[in-house]
Symmetry: C3
């Protein structure tokens, strides 16, 4: 089955679903492109009042970027910067959507999936969800455009913990880390998320949009210079990156050398 | 009974009480003015060491601005900007008070009441307190001068949740959201709050004042330009604002149209 | 027994221990100097992958600056500014270390000890640890260079609570305040901390260093001007400071006069 981004509407509420069957909805290039396009189109639609962003099925919100593509799409720094610009544009399409966006999380919310969830306005997850960014095992860094959103949600100390330890953790720990707003028993999470969406949709829609703008204005995502931005792709030219991706695909333990 | 702001002193500790009987201490224009005056006078008094800010009675800290006044005081953007400047000046009189200010919270701490509490240095509440900013149901936005303080206390993600969902929540959730520093059983909350005030008053008073200044210096409330400031009152010129206030006063459910 | 800073290495993991027997590892001048030197040397060593910073023994991480030295080293503002510059340089040697630094906390983590822990990347503590900055009872302020790190970890509201109340609190409260990342049963805390260090050391080391840099770049510690910096030592010229230190050494209760 092919990967896809689906969009469904029910009244003033739209649902966007990430789908990559058999790969825990890991995002390949076409999904990053289609997600950005979908979010920009929905943002432009003034009749809309709330968006629910979720993974297809029950097993995952999303497991990050599709590592099988790394050899073809992110083999070295220059190429990876181009792929990184695509990821960043899509992250921004979520963060800058004028309507409130709820991340409805079930199962794996890992790597780029966690980053997308961090760009949403609200995060609600099922009790059996799990979270983490274990990219230190791939020899891979989170770029500035992805880091902005995670920092804005959980702050400096938790971001350091997530990235330096690279541990996968459960829903209650995600709540304690303030990575999610609410944890719900597995059978109820969709009901609670759509009740939240309905509550938002019943409010004055211009007020929701203004509140998003005002908060962004007072608390803008931090920016970096173009030079710094490009330095954020240095990992793709390291030997350790090749080692990490190869070990991941071979399901072995990488031996990093620090170069 | 008329609304009022009372000030009592016991040694180096002053108590300021918000009172609007039968209206959950909702703040009318005269209360905003008198609260600002009281806080500025107490700030100037070098003999003082701590202020406890509370609602009169057991039912509320404060329920926000008095909505009955909106038709006369905040009927459109220009007039609302003038009222907003008054609210902002009062918020700043709390935030910039040179003495430590403890919010002692019982019952409803909602809307502008929650905003005032956020401007205090410490927040302690009773187990049965409840919190929220359900202004999306009024077609009303929180202005920049109010939003600054809430963001400084709970951060971006919780502020978005509070404003977009507009849900009223209990004391334990307020603690988990870090909106309050401590939750105390109802019969004990006053004792614990005044023990805290006594502990503060026993410390070196110049040290408390310097610590407040140093923290403000390193973590200043974010500011906006005068033009942006004025754009923060756009909601008052919308049809949805009229709809929301009318529905509130009629105790009906508003049907917003997004204009 | 003399105070000391010890450094031990086991593979890619170094352990730095603060030791001042009988004084809960309170840092005297020579310890501030040696800690800074040790951290700068370890940071320069590219073969290293993780540092565990701890107190010697089971009774304390560190109890802050050694108050017995205050009469000779910090008797007035000008001299205290020089001592403060030393403290700041050491704090920065921890914060700017290019390797991940884990604070392994047992027992007292108070005053300057808490500040050092805040400069680390991760904080793990035993269940019986205790925390606080009761310097309001000494007539002493936290300088800008120390405050930066505490604010970066726990934010404005918790920093105000810690400094204004000056209360000593337990490990579970430290976790709720997000001052520590993890609380572990006393017998297990060393095992868990070194398992964390091993997990970090198994990741790509350049990735860990880049992540630290990227987060610092997006979330830099706030800075102040040299004039403001010097104003941060005003407390040392007050009568209350002399009163506070004398009362501490005499184990009596200080009576502050606000001058």
């Amino acid at each position: 089955m092919a990967s896809s981004i689906s969009v469904e509407r029910q009244g003033a509420i739209a649902t966007v679903a990430l789908s990559n069957p058999g790969k825990l909805n890991a995002l390949d290039r076409s999904m990053w492109e289609k997600l950005g396009t979908a979010m920009r189109e929905l943002s432009a639609d003034a009749a809309l009042r709330c968006i629910v962003l979720r993974g297809a099925g029950d097993d995952a919100f999303a497991a990050g970027a599709d590592i099988a593509e790394f050899a073809s799409e992110r083999a070295a720094g220059v190429q990876a910067a181009e792929y990184g610009a695509l990821i960043h544009a899509t992250m921004q399409s979520v963060a800058q959507c004028r309507h409130p966006v709820i991340a409805l999380i079930k199962g794996a919310c890992v790597g780029g999936g966690l980053e997308i969830a961090a760009m949403c306005d609200l995060r609600i997850c099922s009790e059996s969800s799990r979270f983490g960014v274990p990219i230190k095992n791939l020899g891979l860094t989170m770029g500035y455009g992805e880091l902005q959103g995670v920092l804005a949600v959980v702050g400096r100390a938790v971001t350091l913990e997530i990235l330096l330890e690279g541990r996968v953790f459960d829903a209650q720990e995600a709540l304690a880390k303030r990575l999610v707003n609410r944890v719900v028993a597995d059978p109820d999470v969709e009901g609670v998320a759509y009740a939240m969406a309905a509550r938002i949709a019943a409010g004055a829609p211009l007020v929701a949009r203004w509140h998003k703008q005002y908060i962004e204005r007072l608390n803008p995502l931090p920016q970096v210079s173009p030079d710094e931005w490009n330095e954020g792709f240095a990992c793709f030219d390291t030997e350790d990156y090749k080692t990490g991706v190869a070990a991941f695909l071979a399901k072995t333990k990488p031996q990093f050398k620090g170069r």
